[in-house]
Subunit: 413 residues, 4 copies
């Protein structure tokens, strides 16, 4: 990562910083600026205008931002009549030029505008932040939600797996990256630099993140891994301050115990599946002793799903209830109720083991009565599991989980 | 560049090489493979299928490639009825979901297929090569030319200026990059490593290339620059083997004497304008003495345009004819006949000086009777020039060129 | 620094770690091992023996270490009779071989032993740590103090200025380097990562360290710099949490407010003078606005020197006393009593200004009643100042300091 | 290497270039300059003087250089009477200060001068070049040969194995490094960039060099390796233009077929032994299939040793003669007559196989009638072989070689 950041910062970020320092002197309204950017000169000389728009947006208040978004939503969207006539022409004669005309009509001008904004060094980060604003301000407003689909469409193309770089995060990583790891950790909070260090420095701890070359200082998503002997059954023991680290070479299991998205502006652009599989593949290559790849995951919806009458003091009953919740509780669309289960099962993992008293933190007790689950990534079965889940919502599980579920059913819980 | 290549090669290319070595064992037809890639499992587990497609394509013969392209052209294009009904629904109720449905219908499935192919490490380079094949094989076949528009649309997004990295190319650059510079030089051929060295190593010579992070070993476009005192009037003196180099700090002029695109598969994705302006800006920042930024350019269409009756032995007459050709000879669409003129004038440059006996190479004599031209990039006027050229085809020129043209007119030549 | 650490860690440190993990199986006494290392096989196959010695030493207790040092001191020193006869032979016939024989006799075998130990990857750091042990354990024991002179002689050659690399330390530096900065700061303690960040991240703060390529994870010495407008008069205002940072370009003064040696094992190998001058030169090159280079320094010996009768409540009197102390209080050898004064005056700096209430920390009040001093590095005068100080102990000072001293004298204080 | 060069060039070389450009204005004689450098100011402010000396030396003619060396030889050597009295004092009382005084007297001042010269950025390279001049100009002049021992002593310390960095050289290495490989190849000449490429780019070819951090653009020594199946018997087949490369993973043998020292100024500082063993260890780690490490070496002294009466047309007789030459022909000091044999046997290798018609180049035929030899590096036996060779000149050889030698003896040849 460090090389990377170093190289690209030089190239991109320094210039970026430079323009953020200068005041913006062009005070024309956004409407005029966007016309300018899209006009004849825009393709060739548009960088200055693009810079002005980005900078003005960055310092705008919410009302101004909303006005800007509404301008894009209303004035830079598709024109159905134009689309229809281009489509008619294309149907009549399927030529290069009729197809080109259709493509031009069917794509709203704001997509090209976003691409032109992106010509400015450092713009990608600014555009991701812009979408975070849009998601925040546009909720429930149909035309803004539609506008967001254009951002999302472009970002899915720009942040294609093929453009991402997987980098290890460790105690030799730059401090300004590490402070983002502390800030973005969403599962088990990191409460100090010492806590961070305990998760990065020991020989049996690893962390990996995806980066995009145009945002080298910003992790997109990261995963924390513990190398263990056997499948761990509680987060307390995994993160115990006084534990004795293993030699990495002696571990037989890689446990993914935390995975966090970092960029609000990249919501719905999915990286987690690729990240887990890439990290599993890389670790398997590096450490021949690793045979098992599991998660140690929260069950965020469990407590809410449990009913008042349940006995929460019997760990066995809790485990059976959790098995039942994970494998049988469904949304109307047939997918699992639990969001973390949806994610891992959607990736082709299987429900492997369930542990009571596994997360005794305030948050753990509150959301799942302390219960946690291991999802198993069996690289041989992941593809088949995924396909069955995608086509028939079939949930893969170990025999242990199958028994637990059955016992829950028998008990009528 | 070296850091970059080093880093990213490690990440991407090595893996890429690995898969190209293994034989491909999946021998299903391309049709089935693309169905698989686009199916339920494709988004999550599609990397293996994508790899198979890319590898199979790389080793296919032209007939198989053509069959693959026709499959994309015919079976993975838009369905006009589906677009129309999605458009109708959207017009009736402009909601997030009706817009999403329209977007899905209006984009041909092959675009998503190309994005999924790109998930494979090293795929971007393979896809650029695929488009080079498409351009070569699809010429004149309407549905393949339409298919090419989808490649071009995606590549314009992926190779957006904001994602490109400008790197100096010098005698400390990696040999495998330098041999590409030798191979891709399209204006004044580099005939040996010693010739290359004379263009890179002296203190008054510079070369810069754009790279894309996903293709770190492949320059996209490069420009060769000579730092000079005054505006140079011939390529012979510029490249003379025995010339005495200047100290860079002592130069007042940066002369862009060669600019070459490197990737056939990126045809029509324009980088040259950005490259020239970025290099000019960077050089101006580094070397305070630089006041003038010009090209020393060929006039590839001149000889063809000249008529038999013209007297080619009078250098003054030749210069006047060249001025006339560059400023008055137009295509039906009103743009200059000369392709190099179109490029530089389109960037906002102006026709500055014309020199006879300026390129005495076989090629130079053949294409332009040895005449060359300087285009001036005056950073203060570039934007206005560009706009006038774009809106009214007005050609910017120096008073010297204006006089030359006028004299040509007077002479009735 | 990050590139550097990254590169060289790969090369050296990883291997180093590897050998420290394996148990040592060769349990022969140090005496035997050193004989082996110095014997016929040592030059070519000595790496394994060298590794064993270093590893055994690293895990030895103080008694064993002392025994090892005494072995070197007694059995691997020069043999005066051998030196004398080699000298006689050389005097008789000054040939290449008589000179070589003299060199061999005049250098104690332990120097060659230390060089052979250094063949092991990672050994340089281990040898620096070994000398730290020697300094600690050998104090007052003449033969061990002599032994230390050999370590010091070799280290002065190995850590020659020409081999050191100056690297900026900033908020993008690796965390494992930054934690060493926190640990080694010897002047104004850094009490947290936030405190560190305040010294590294703002645009008007800089930090630089010298590294040696064979110890890329270990800063040797570092200096903290504040870019200011005018010469600062107190450490409180300089480090105030709520101060508003300057733009670096707007600063006219670079203030060196803390300089710390990091390696006990490199005691008496002087880096500070080179570091200050190199940093001053680099900053001057980068920031054209910088006109003044000063320190804001403690006066560690002031409080001890002051007498009971002095009135410490009058800041003016305190300043005069400090001026008197810095410029007139001398050791028997004629050099200033104050160690920080000796260092900066020895570098060619001059006593520039004195401030009362300038360091109100517990340490500052205790050691100097809160008084601090600016030493000025005037690059034009540094060489002359240094020479006068070196040859005649003449102390350079500003007219303000001269007046203060004079007033102190008049007051009889 | 590229990272390294990049980083350190930035740090060192650029500055170096800068000073070489400025004219030297200080025209005092070398004698005065060295007095200045060694004087009171030298330790602290000596960099400017050191720079002047280095630059003046670089542009001096041979007569001036010789005068400079004689100045060092005569005026900056040890003073026997001073050494003797320091030695007497030390013998009387072995204290720290008497030992320090002895060290000071026993080391000639020119050693400290060389260390002070090395403070200048880029100086290490200049000092290595200075020693190359000394070796060239000082031959046969006793006091200059003695002076050289001081350079050599310092360089042995500076270029200690622990400070060297092993870097792969490949087709991605910087051109300015590669051109040095072409220039320095001393065994089998590289006649073009294409020839170089054939030795670097194929999957079954490797090249490695040692670098010193203070001379990052200068390889010190490099070795070329062919990965083969079985032990190769001729250089023609090894370097054949049309051979089909192996996959590296499929090779069972690493053949070191060329090893070249690059720096005349580092003569007698031995790197070859470390290089071969390090490269063998690294390759063994990377490629598990490698079981055998051999050389394919010239026999430079063979032709000269053969007598007129020998029949050079019978390959078997030639092989027997070569075996006899390599194992039985000795210098007066008991070491092998052949210099390459001395080197490899001294490293602990054994004479393994001998091939006729193995080097049919003009040079190969001339120096050894086309015969070549494999030396085997058996890592298990290397240490024992070396020790026996070092202590009793015993030559390790395979049974094949033993038979060949015996047959030669029987034939009385």
């Amino acid at each position: 990562m460090t090389l990377f950041a170093d190289l690209l910062s030089t190239v991109f970020e320094r210039r970026y910083e430079r323009w953020t320092r200068k005041g913006v002197t062009d005070t024309r309204p956004f409407e005029e600026l966007t016309v300018d950017l899209m006009g004849a000169a825009g393709e060739v000389s548009g960088v200055a205008v693009a810079r002005t728009i980005l900078e003005r947006f960055a310092s705008a208040d919410d009302a101004e931002k909303l006005a800007f978004f509404r301008h894009l939503a209303e004035n830079m969207t598709i024109t159905p009549t134009a689309v229809r006539s281009a489509l008619d022409a294309y149907e009549t004669g399927q030529t290069k030029s009729s197809y080109r005309a259709f493509m031009a009509a069917a794509e709203p001008p704001r997509q090209e505008m976003i691409r032109r904004l992106n010509q400015v060094p450092g713009a990608t980060r600014a555009l991701v932040a812009m979408r975070a604003d849009l998601l925040r301000l546009g909720r429930g407003e149909a035309s803004l939600e539609a506008l967001d689909l254009d951002f999302r469409h472009l970002f899915a193309s720009w942040f294609n797996r093929g453009f991402l770089v997987l980098r290890p995060i460790n105690w030799e990583s730059p401090a300004h990256i590490l402070e983002k790891i502390i800030a973005y950790e969403a599962v088990h909070a990191i409460d100090s630099w010492n806590d961070l260090r305990r998760r990065l420095e020991p020989a049996d701890r690893r962390c990996f993140a995806f980066f995009h070359p145009a945002m080298p200082d910003e992790p997109l998503i990261f995963v924390e891994v513990a190398l263990t002997n056997g499948v761990p059954g509680s987060i307390q023991s995994l993160l115990a301050e006084d534990r004795a680290p293993l030699m990495a070479e002696d571990a037989d299991t890689a446990t993914f115990y935390s995975i966090s998205n970092c960029q609000a502006g990249l919501a719905s652009i999915s990286f987690g599946n690729s990240l887990i599989k890439q990290v599993a593949a890389d670790l398997a290559l590096e450490l021949g002793g690793l045979k098992t790849f599991v998660t140690l995951s929260p069950i965020p919806g469990l407590a809410k799903w449990l009913q008042a009458g349940h006995d929460f003091n019997d760990p066995e009953k809790l485990r059976a209830l959790a098995a039942s919740y994970l494998t049988a509780a469904k949304r109307p669309d047939g997918l699992p109720l639990d969001p973390v289960a949806r994610f891992h099962l959607g990736n082709g993992a299987e429900v492997f083991r369930i542990h009571a008293d596994a997360d005794l933190s305030e948050k753990g007790l509150k959301q799942s009565k302390g219960v946690m689950v291991n999802y198993l990534y069996d690289l041989e079965r992941v593809s088949r599991n995924h396909e069955r889940f995608a086509t028939s919502h079939e949930i893969a599980m170990s025999s242990e989980i199958r028994s637990l579920s059955a016992s829950a059913e028998k008990l009528g819980i």
